[in-house]
């Protein structure tokens, strides 16, 4: 398991698809690809900073105060990311709305901070956090791609130079499957993805048993 700290977060220990952690903001912002990228970047930044800070601060903070200290730490980091985004990417911040602020009580971030604050090696800690953050972002991106391409027939990225930021998918943008861009579509898609992930995991376990036995 040791060398798998980063990769595990992408696949077998994917926080979003396998453990269904951090669902609330993830489902709400996955209707546009640009929102998913923005939130994913926010999660990775907050996660890395929070895990490193918690790991370094743990010897100083009394055991009883730790949960509230982590809460304040994560909320402060989220506020920093929020303010930076308001300053540099105001349009994206507007789209993300309260869901960016809600990262302050995200179960993925708080759970990892709690768990990794006790870990011995800082570098392994950071690799695990990076893996979980990247896995979350990738899964979010996958959901957002499916939802946006089918739900509105577009792929929204960021405007850059002469590129307006929106790619239209020919055919689909005229007759999109509107339901996928609504809340119901998010739940539906995640349900099928979770079933798929569970199925693949079960198959992987069976194959392992066969090769071991």
């Amino acid at each position: 398991m040791k060398e798998r700290a980063f990769i595990g977060g992408l696949a077998r220990q994917n926080p979003l698809l396998v453990y269904l952690l951090g669902l609330c903001p993830a489902l709400a912002v996955s209707d546009l690809v640009s929102k998913a990228l923005g939130l994913g970047a926010g999660v990775i930044l907050v996660l890395l900073a929070a895990v490193a800070a918690a790991r370094l601060l743990r010897p100083v903070i009394p055991e009883r105060l730790q949960p509230i200290a982590w809460l304040v730490l994560v909320a402060a980091l989220v506020s920093l990311v929020d303010l930076a985004m308001q300053a540099y990417l105001p349009a994206l911040r507007q789209q993300l709305g309260v869901y960016l602020q809600l990262l302050a009580v995200n179960c993925l971030i708080l759970g990892l901070v709690e768990r990794l604050a006790r870990s011995r090696s800082l570098s392994r800690c950071l690799r695990l956090a990076a893996g979980q953050g990247a896995g979350f972002t990738l899964a979010l991106l996958l959901i957002a791609l499916v939802r946006e391409v089918l739900g509105s027939g577009t792929i929204t990225l960021f405007p850059l130079g002469s590129f307006g930021g929106v790619i239209r998918v020919p055919g689909l943008s005229l007759y999109p499957v509107r339901v996928l861009s609504l809340a119901a579509g998010a739940l539906l898609l995640l349900g099928y993805l979770a079933a798929l992930a569970g199925r693949l995991m079960a198959r992987g376990r069976k194959a392992e048993q066969r090769s071991a036995g």
Binding site: L20, L21, L23, C24, P25, L27, A28, I68, L71, V72, A75, A76, V78, S79, D82, L83, V98, Y99, Q101, L102, A104, V105, N106, C107, L110, V179, L182, A183, A184, G185, A186, L187, L188, L190, G191, Y192, A194, A195, L196, G198, R199, A202
Partner: protein, 196 residues
């Protein structure tokens, strides 16, 4: 907006779970039993009814006059955590039966997006602490409705033959999706006609 409008909008149109996708994690954890779902929903409604006016007061009487708007996230997180602590202590002292019934769910909700999210969404748009108390309670009622209905669907599903890969969380997610689809019928125009 009238009080009836606030309540109907919060429960049906902008349902915290089915429209805003908040508070999903504890909801799915409690979907296994109707008792747990009821307890969770009641705890959420109680805490939301207390937190929303407190958050309103904090925002409009403290943060805005002092120009500390950038501390909103931090202040609300601490407020929510503090209110949870108070509710737990009060329930343990005054109503041990309530505490036993709800106590299990309070920690799960304390660091959860449903309370903080509703506060962040509701507070800017409301004009008085009373209105935000009503809106908070109504949002909690919406959460209660969604959690109880979802748990009841799961209870019915237990006697059905669900494909192996879909068992557990996937089928719960799909049930929630179909509920959300049903709730699309309640839109603003319909409610505007009903209330007049």
């Amino acid at each position: 907006m009238s009080f009836a409008g606030i309540i109907l909008t919060a429960v049906f149109v902008n349902n915290v779970v089915l429209h805003q996708l908040l508070g999903l994690c504890p909801l799915f954890a409690a979907a296994g039993s109707r008792r747990a779902a009821l307890g969770l929903g009641l705890a959420a409604a109680l805490v939301l009814g207390l937190t929303a006016p407190a958050a309103w007061a904090l925002q409009h009487l403290v943060l805005e006059p002092l120009r500390l708007g950038y501390l909103q996230t931090l202040a609300f997180v601490l407020l929510v955590a503090g209110i949870f602590r108070l509710v737990r202590l009060a329930a343990a002292r005054l109503a041990p039966a309530v505490h036993r019934a709800l106590g299990l769910h309070l920690p799960a909700l304390a660091v959860n997006c449903v309370v903080l999210g509703s506060c962040l969404l509701l507070v800017p748009g409301l004009s008085s602490a009373w209105r935000s108390a009503v809106a908070g309670l109504a949002a909690g009622a919406g959460f209660l409705l969604a959690s109880v209905v979802l748990a009841s669907i799961q209870a019915r599903l237990r006697t059905e033959r669900v494909p192996e890969a879909m068992r557990g969380l996937p089928i719960t997610l799909l049930s929630a999706a179909l509920m959300a689809l049903g709730f699309l019928a309640f839109d603003r125009a319909l409610l505007a006609n009903l209330i007049g």
